[in-house]
């Protein structure tokens, strides 16, 4: 069976940074991603990133992926496996995966899980009709494959993702009929909200979707107002003509592989759902299994990159590589603190307090 020192599952910003950090200390790394190229969520982000300069704020997501990729390509200690889906991690540590069309197995000394997050669904009548798409799916179709999803979109969710994807839809020439959100206030940053408002898109807060209309595919939607307990207010129904309903109602960490390792998880809504307990090195309660990025808690690319670096350094350190790693890690831990300084950061930090082990 094949063997590697550090197996990293997921080649988004977290996994890429973990690979770079560990290999720079001398460890041999295998980086798995099921996609055809590295980058994870970054490859569909056409906007300039928020966050701190050290984590490439101001640069478009697609370009950050390129910078990290070039660094990985140069490093001979990193073996990149693309088009490779990790299927399972067994109790004896065997990792099974499908590389192209072949089924293979590998063992590792340490494993870092950086598999990202999955989009949440929303309950409403006919939510399975073709034309009800996740925001990520719309982005993939548009920004990776150059195809617009339809002509007229209802966006559900006025957080940053809902706002940014709405703007990207308009850049691609698609009409956005409205952005609705059940919360009484816009959740995303004001800059993003102003951008779409200026283009004439109404943002309807305290609104929800009741039904998707259509027999075979989406032909419209019924929306209504909600009260402060999120209950629909009678006689406020409104029918709108749209052919796409786009869901941007949050993400939840992808935890299947983590759970297969037997690590302890807890339900923490502010972090996106079930998330693993971890120590300050991002090691879970399963010895030798680390977690980083959106799989650890749904946050941002900037923090995912720093977490990936800390996990990579820690795994390399545990294998006896590097000198002075404790001090290097201190620097990155401080970076994380700075990134988590705002109101959103406070929420993340109080969620994380419940998870230390």
């Amino acid at each position: 069976m094949l063997h590697t020192e550090i197996a990293i599952i997921g080649g988004g910003p977290a996994g890429m940074c973990a690979a770079i950090a560990a290999a720079n200390q001398g460890a041999r790394v295998t980086l798995f991603d099921r996609g055809k190229r590295l980058g994870g969520q970054l490859v569909k982000q056409t906007h300039r990133f928020f966050g701190s300069e050290k984590e490439y704020a101001g640069i478009r997501g697609i370009d950050i992926a390129k910078i990290l990729y070039e660094e990985i390509e140069k490093n001979k200690l990193i073996d990149v496996k693309l088009d490779t889906t990790v299927l399972a991690i067994y109790s004896d540590g065997v990792i099974s995966y499908e590389e192209g069309k072949s089924y293979k197995r590998m063992t590792s000394e340490k494993t870092i899980i950086a598999a990202g997050a999955a989009e949440k669904m929303l309950l409403f009548e006919n939510n399975d009709l073709p034309g009800v798409y996740g925001a990520g799916a719309v982005q993939t179709l548009m920004n990776e494959h150059g195809i617009v999803p339809g002509n007229n979109v209802l966006m559900i969710g006025a957080g940053n993702i809902g706002l940014i994807v709405s703007y990207q839809l308009m850049q691609a020439g698609v009409k956005v009929a409205a952005i609705i959100d059940a919360a009484p206030k816009v959740g995303g940053y004001l800059v993003h909200a102003s951008k779409v408002r200026r283009l004439g898109v109404p943002i309807l807060t305290s609104h929800t979707i009741k039904t998707a209309l259509g027999n075979e595919t989406v032909e419209g939607a019924v929306i209504c107002e909600v009260d402060d307990k999120f209950n629909p207010i009678p006689n406020t129904d409104q029918t709108i003509d749209v052919d796409i309903i786009c869901l941007a109602v949050g993400l939840s960490p992808q935890g299947e592989l983590l759970r297969q390792t037997g690590c302890e998880v807890k339900y923490v809504p502010s972090l996106g759902g079930f998330v693993p307990l971890r120590d300050e090195n991002l090691q879970t309660t399963t010895n030798g299994v680390y977690v980083a990025g959106d799989s650890a808690e749904v946050e941002e690319a900037s923090s995912a990159m720093v977490e990936g670096t800390i996990a990579g350094l820690s795994a390399a350190e545990a294998l006896g590589y590097g000198t002075n790693i404790v001090a290097i890690k201190e620097g990155f831990k401080n970076d994380l603190d700075v990134l988590r300084s705002g109101a959103v950061g406070e929420k993340i930090k109080s969620g994380l307090k419940l998870l230390s082990c």
């Binding site: 719309v138 993939t140 075979e216």
Partner: protein, 103 residues
């Protein structure tokens, strides 16, 4: 509809056009793009029926909403499976039938 002009993405380049068969009809798409993208471009949004019509949802191979029969093989996630020249693609009913399996 294909995006022809985009303020940020310059990488949407011309690719090789191929032909494929969907439910007996000849359609065109680009070699290597996801089958679901090529179908979408041809106005096909309903990919299968499982009591109810289903289309894609996640577009990254996560959710299995997009299973179709490709070259006789059922349960192919067409949001990640790449289009090749001459492919025969059919809508799938329910769980689909295994190639060479019993009726």
């Amino acid at each position: 509809m294909r995006i022809k002009k985009h303020p940020v993405l310059s990488s949407i380049v011309e690719k090789t056009e191929v032909e494929f068969i969907f439910e007996g009809k000849m359609l065109k798409g680009y070699e290597g793009e996801p089958i679901a993208a090529a179908l979408h471009e041809n106005g096909v949004r309903v990919l299968r029926h499982d009591h109810r019509p289903r289309g894609f949802f996640c577009a990254i191979g996560n959710c299995s909403s997009c299973l179709m029969e490709v070259n006789g093989e059922p349960n192919v996630r067409v949001c990640v499976e790449e289009l090749r020249d001459g492919m025969v693609i059919n809508m799938q009913e329910g769980k689909g039938k295994l190639k060479g399996g019993e009726e």
